[in-house]
Symmetry: C2
Subunit: 144 residues, 2 copies
Amino acid sequence: MPVRKATTVWENDLMSGNGKVRVASNALPEFPVSWKGRTEQGAALTSPEELVAAAHASCFAMAFSANLSRKGSIPKKLTVTAETSFDKVGEGWKVTKSVLNVVGNVPGLDGAKFEEYAKEAEHSCPISNALRNNVEITVNAKLE
Amino acid sequence: MPVRKATTVWENDLMSGNGKVRVASNALPEFPVSWKGRTEQGAALTSPEELVAAAHASCFAMAFSANLSRKGSIPKKLTVTAETSFDKVGEGWKVTKSVLNVVGNVPGLDGAKFEEYAKEAEHSCPISNALRNNVEITVNAKLE
């Protein structure tokens, strides 16, 4: 049902220009983006790929918490890190990979089940499904 | 080349739990997410879908500025709004649509060319390509 919105105001060409991004919820302060900040490792700016990593990590955490609860194992804590790769492929750039690393504190569950349920959750995660077949998705799951 | 990272720490089940998200660049302050905040229209929290909207708007602005410059029409300003829909489909939820609305100030370019170049840019935009065939993408382009 919900439609979520964000706006980027960009000035100038790609290399020397820059953009300012606002999200409609106003839950985040306005932030800058640039091509340099997007393509440098360890840049101080966020980027479309870092925002995708944040979307994927938070979506997968929700999907996994729902799946664990469905199986009778409510998680105390799930720490999910998403690592999104942005690579030059031929003449263009591509979002090639998203790796989900999850460490869990789930009382009474063994490691094998934790892994199995993590893989199921990856398949039901809406952001995974939005990236499916275009971006290579991997899940690494272990208990604390 | 760059790998971008974000981490969500989630506690408890989906409905009563909540998560905190950090991006590795530290360009954004830590922010909360929740299922309620994700699925309510007009919520005060950001959400995976709003983050995708921010990623898509900023990526498309970059792709379009690059394409316009390639054609000899460096943009003074591009204002890109992405609207991302999150809908219940059957038993699950799905990112169904991303609508890109772009208004441009591009000296010496006519509206028809602006639209044509916008559609080309949508095809080269890496975030569009990450969502391709899973999320319905629309571009609406007009000059100021």
